[in-house]
Structures are given as C-alpha cells and as structure tokens.
Amino acid sequence: MSYIPGQPVTAVVQRVEIHKLRQGENLILGFSIGGGIDQDPSQNPFSEDKTDKVNGWDMTMVTHDQARKRLTKRSEEVVRLLVTRQSLQKAVQQSMLS
C-alpha cells in the first residue's frame, strides 16, 4: 500500500490545543514549522509530527507559506491542532495488547 498525496486518508490523530504566548506586541506559539506541499520532504531532519488541521483549516495540501499564515493569525489566541505521528500507532497497539 502506498500513500498518494492528494487522496483522502483516515489516520489516528491527536488533538493539541495551544494558547499563544504573548511576546511584546505579538502572540507567538514558540516553535517552528517546517515543510509544506511545496517543500522537499526528504530534507526533513525530523520526521515525527504532521499537522492535519489548524483551527478547522485543512493543512494536508498547503504550501509552507499558507501553513505559516494560518498559524500566525493575530486575531486568534488559541490554536487547535490535529496532529498525527508514527508513534501514535505503536501506542494504540500496545494499549490494545495489554
């Protein structure tokens, strides 16, 4: 089986809710994002989390710049992410075994 970019896929996700930190005049999340549909994934030094949704916006087919913009909206103080990662599956398996 393979994953075809652009096709819908069902995945185990984790909800993450982050309240933005205030730094001077700005609200920041405090981490960096990398990648995007327009980026080369083989150069990813980390390979864990992938973000599926930000505050309801679909992120599976966005460019790097679009992703950055959706996370840095000035009017939003809380960012709700749906995140998936490889280790989620392992954790699911382990809990089902026991």
């Binding site: 001077g24 920041i28 994934p41 950055r68 840095t72 089902m96």
Partner: protein
C-alpha cells in the same frame, strides 16, 4: 446653559458696555489678558533648549556607535522642535501686532436665528499607529556586502502644526522585510484641515567612510553642501512654521561630528487618509542609491490614522428640556439633555449623565437630521420648542422638545448648528467614534529578553496525552494489530516522483531566534523566489550563505528543492 464651543480668551457679551469700550479703542484685547497659549509655548521652547544642551553633552561623551546614533537623533529632534516653536511664536506675535488674532471671541446673540457669519470647526485628537514600511531587497543585495551585515538606523519624524514627535529608532538589516514601528503617536490639537507630515530618516550604523559603495568625493560633497544650505533652511523654516513648506523638518548640525541622518522618504497625510483601520499610502522617496544611507524602500507606508473630533467625545451642550412622552401634547417630562457626538441624550436627572445611568430617551443627530426652532401657541408658558426629525427608512420620526426660554432655545440651536458644521468638516470621523489608545510612555531600549520563558519551562510528555487518546480508541474499535494501517505510509514512503538532485545545499534556517532588542521577531524574507515548476528551476533559499552551482544544471524536473522552516 453650558455650551462648550464658545471658545474665547475673553468673553464679551455683545452690546454690553465693555464691548463699547473695546470698540472705542480704549483697551487692546491683548493687553487685557496675557495669552496663556503663548506662555505655554515659551515654556516648551525653554524645555527643548535645555534638552538640546543635554543631548550635545551626551553625544560628546558617547563611545559606542549605537549610543551616538540615539544621541544624534535626540539632538536633531530638539533642533527641529526649537525651530518650529520659534517660528510659531514669531507668527503669533506678528498676528497680534497686526490685529488679527485668528480667534474671535464669540458672543451670544439675543434675537437672531441663524448661523453666524464665520464658524470654526472644533479641534480633535489625531493618532497614527502601527506604522510599517515595506522593504524590497533585490537579489543583488545579497552579494554586495559579502560577509558583512550592513545595518541602518532609521526613525520617523512626524509633524502636525508646530508639534513634532518622533518614533523609536530601529536597526534595519537585509533580513527584515519591513520596518515596523511600535509607537503610537498622538497629536491633541488638530483641526480638520490638518497636515500630518511624515519623514523617514536613516543613518548607517557602520562608519560612513568604511563603505565601499559611496565614492569618497561624493560623500564629502554631500557633507559640505549640507553645511552651506543650512543657513537658508533656518530662514525658510522660520518663514513657514508649521511644516507647510517643502523643506524637510529636520536640519543637520554640521558642527557636531558623529553619525549623519539623511532624509529617505516623506509624505503628508490629511483628513482624507483617516480611517478606522489600516491603509497604505504612497511615500515620496527622497534619496537615491548614491546616498550612503539609502534603503531599498518599496515606496509605501501602512498605518492606522484615526481622529477623534472633540464634538464626538465631549458634550457640546447641556441643559434642561421637556420632552413629550406620549402623543398627546399635555404630557411633557422634564429631562436633562446632553448633546454629545451624534446623539442628544435625555437623562431623568443631571447626575445620571455622570453615573452612567441609561437615558430616558436618545435622539440621533447626524448629517441627515433636520432641526427646527419654533413657537407653539398651544403650550402656554413654554412656547419655545425645538423639533428634531430623523428619517428611518420610509418613516419620519420627529421629537419635539421644549426649552426653558428664548435664550435657551437660541443656545441649543447654536450648539446644533455648530455640531452640524463640525460634522461637515470632520466628515468620516463623525460617523462613529474611532478608538484611540493613549500611547504608553515609551520604554527605553530593552536588554535581551530573558531565557526562562514559559516555553522553556513547559515539558509535555507525549505518552501522557496518548494514553487518553488510546483509551477512547480501544473502547470504540476493534484492534487491527497485524497490518500497519494505511496512513502510516505518510511517514515511510518515498514521494512518488523521483528527483535527480539529492544534494541541494540549503542551510536550514535557525528554528527560533532570540527576539532582538530593537523590534519584533524577525520574519525571514519569504518573498524569495518560490519553487517554480518551470523546466528551468533553480535552488533558492531565504538566506543562502553559500550557493551550490551544481544544482543549476541538474534540476530539470522542477521539484521542490527546499525544506523551509519558519518560527510561529
């Protein structure tokens, strides 16, 4: 009855004996009372002169270039304020001598109904904030000063009337996409015909002699020519105080050695530019590439320019009125009316206006409202009435109010006419009150932010969260333990399309940089060439410290070459 718009230094009732004395020339109005505004201006001038002395001393004692830049900026702002105040004082004295004070004491008129011949609009507060000037770095900029990060110190000077204010100084280098100023600048005495002049000044942070760009003789020519013309500019600014002339507000001080600020761009904003939101305005660029302090400005400035006319924020009239509660004429209720902004509030008691109680009745007053004074025969004892009509869709709603006397009626009419006049002059500022934040006193340039932020302290154990998730999953679904679910392929599969270039050398941008003391966190320039899908793709990253020449010939499929990271 209190009426706010009667501004005068000396109130003289028309037709009184005192007015007769004035007309006969027995007294001069200026001798009668020392104008308080002039002593205020003198006091400000003395203050600036003292500040200037302090700035000179500080500049002489500076050892570091950045301190010298701040001190020079303070000195230049003091100089320009001194010139502006001196010019204004001179203008006022001349006007007094010639007998044109520019401000007539307005008196009451006993019998005449109608607007007086000459009306002046109320003043207001004008606030400019969220100033942002975009920059346009071209690719050649990266190669010009290799290894050296060329930096500029910039600030904005703003002038309205004789008042000059400045923003904080910001250090700019080529990693910034915009120059963003945090300051809110407030001018408290602006008329609707105000002209807010905005000037951007810049200086090199490095010594000007060290630049390889500007030829030596041009630099000396610039400095000497500034010295010659400064005398002319002193006279010019004295003649045209208030910044109405085209000469820049800021004068150089050739006698002081140290950093030199150059005018980079300017623009003038008027009432037409006022809006309760962000707008972009054009900048007139004033320097060219040969100038050592030249910055690649995009040519526009974004800001929020808001104005609050006094008629919107302060009550312009108040007094006792009687309103009709019901359709029948007999039932008149006594209220305390307050005319403020676009409403006439009718409170049950005078104290309610201050305590925040809801008024009994609120009548809207806007540019469509029609007002009529009249005399009602049917209401004996209080025949003087005021009718206010508003159109709501197809219906016309008229409120009839009784005033206490004929004089009170005149005053109310006068206040309403003044309000209509102010609304016609201040235009969009009278539709709704624009919010203006009182600018906080500017903090001194801060030291580096401390390390121990909340972000560093928080540690989230991923296993803690997953436990909750997996609990829900086990309850809901049966387990598929054997085969890995399809979505895991996202993490393991190679992308479907091959890419020949495996060694695109892109230096990863740092994950998160410390916020710098002079502005908001940097955003790396994301208007670098996006990975295009044409056959002739090339490898571009936001800050390429080195470029791999191999990539140019190998890339033929137009694959994404980069893996960008951005702080959020």
């Amino acid at each position: 009855m209190f009426s706010r718009n009667h501004r005068s230094r000396v109130t003289v009732a028309r037709g009184s004996a005192l007015e007769m004395e004035f007309k006969r020339g027995r007294f001069r109005l200026s001798l009668f009372s020392d104008p308080p505004e002039d002593t205020e201006l003198q006091r400000k001038l003395d203050h600036e002169i003292r500040m200037r002395e302090g700035a000179c001393k500080l500049l002489a004692a500076c050892s570091q270039r950045e301190q010298a830049l701040e001190a020079t900026k303070s000195l230049l702002v003091c100089n320009s304020r001194i010139l502006s105040y001196m010019g204004e004082l001179q203008r006022r004295k001349e006007a007094q001598v010639l007998g044109k004070t520019g401000r007539r004491p307005s008196g009451w008129c006993w019998c005449r109904i109608g607007p007086p011949a000459e009306r002046s609009p109320c003043h207001g507060r004008v606030c400019i904030s969220d100033l942002r000037i975009p920059l346009m770095w071209k690719d050649t900029e990266y190669f010009k000063n290799k290894g050296d990060l060329h930096r500029w110190a910039v600030f904005l000077l703003l002038q309205l009337g004789e008042h000059i204010q400045d923003t904080e100084m910001i250090l700019v280098d080529r990693t910034l996409t915009d120059i963003s100023f945090q300051s809110n600048v407030l001018f408290t005495e602006a008329g609707p015909d105000f002209e807010l002049r905005l000037e951007l000044y810049g200086a090199c942070v490095e010594e000007e002699g060290a630049l390889t760009g500007a030829p030596k003789r041009l630099a000396t020519k610039l400095s000497s020519s500034l010295g010659r013309s400064s005398g002319r500019r002193v006279r010019a600014s004295l003649d045209s105080a208030g910044g109405s002339g085209s000469s820049p507000i800021l004068l150089p001080t050739p006698a002081v050695s140290g950093p030199r600020y150059h005018l980079l761009a300017h623009t003038t904003l008027t009432l037409a530019a006022v809006q309760d939101g962000f707008r972009t305005h054009d900048l007139t660029l004033a320097s060219h590439e040969e100038n050592p302090a030249w910055l690649p400005l995009y040519g526009s400035v974004c800001c929020r320019l808001a104005a609050q006319p006094l008629c919107m924020t302060q009550p312009t009239a108040s007094g006792t009125l009687r309103v009709q509660q019901a359709v029948e004429m007999q039932n008149w209720v006594r209220v305390h009316g307050v005319l403020k902004g676009t409403n006439l509030f009718c409170y049950r008691r005078p104290e309610d206006a201050d305590t925040g109680e809801e008024p009994l009745l609120t009548i809207a007053i806007n540019k469509e409202t029609r007002v009529r004074a009249g005399e009602l025969d049917q209401a004996p004892g209080r025949p003087f009435t005021l009718s206010i009509s508003n159109q709501y869709g197809d219906d016309e709603v008229t409120h009839t109010l009784q005033t206490e006397s004929r004089e009170a009626l005149q005053s109310w009419m006068e206040a309403l006419w003044q309000l209509f006049f102010d609304m016609s002059q201040w235009k969009q500022c009278c539709d709704e009150i624009m919010k203006i934040e009182t600018p906080a006193p500017r903090k001194p340039p801060q030291a580096l932010a401390k390390q121990g932020s909340l972000y560093h302290e928080m540690a989230i154990e991923p296993l803690d969260d997953i436990a909750a998730v997996t609990d829900i999953l086990t309850q809901r679904e049966g387990a598929r333990l054997e085969t890995p679910p399809p979505w895991l392929a996202m993490f393991t599969d190679q992308p479907a399309l091959p890419h020949p270039c495996s060694a695109a050398s892109v230096a990863p941008a740092p994950a998160w940089t410390q916020p710098l003391p002079w502005g908001r966190p940097r955003t790396f320039s994301l208007d670098a060439v996006p990975p295009d899908h044409s056959p002739r793709a090339r490898s571009v990253a936001p800050l390429p410290p080195q470029r791999s020449p191999r990539t140019r010939d190998l890339c033929s499929k137009g694959q994404p070459r980069t893996w960008l990271q951005s702080p959020v």
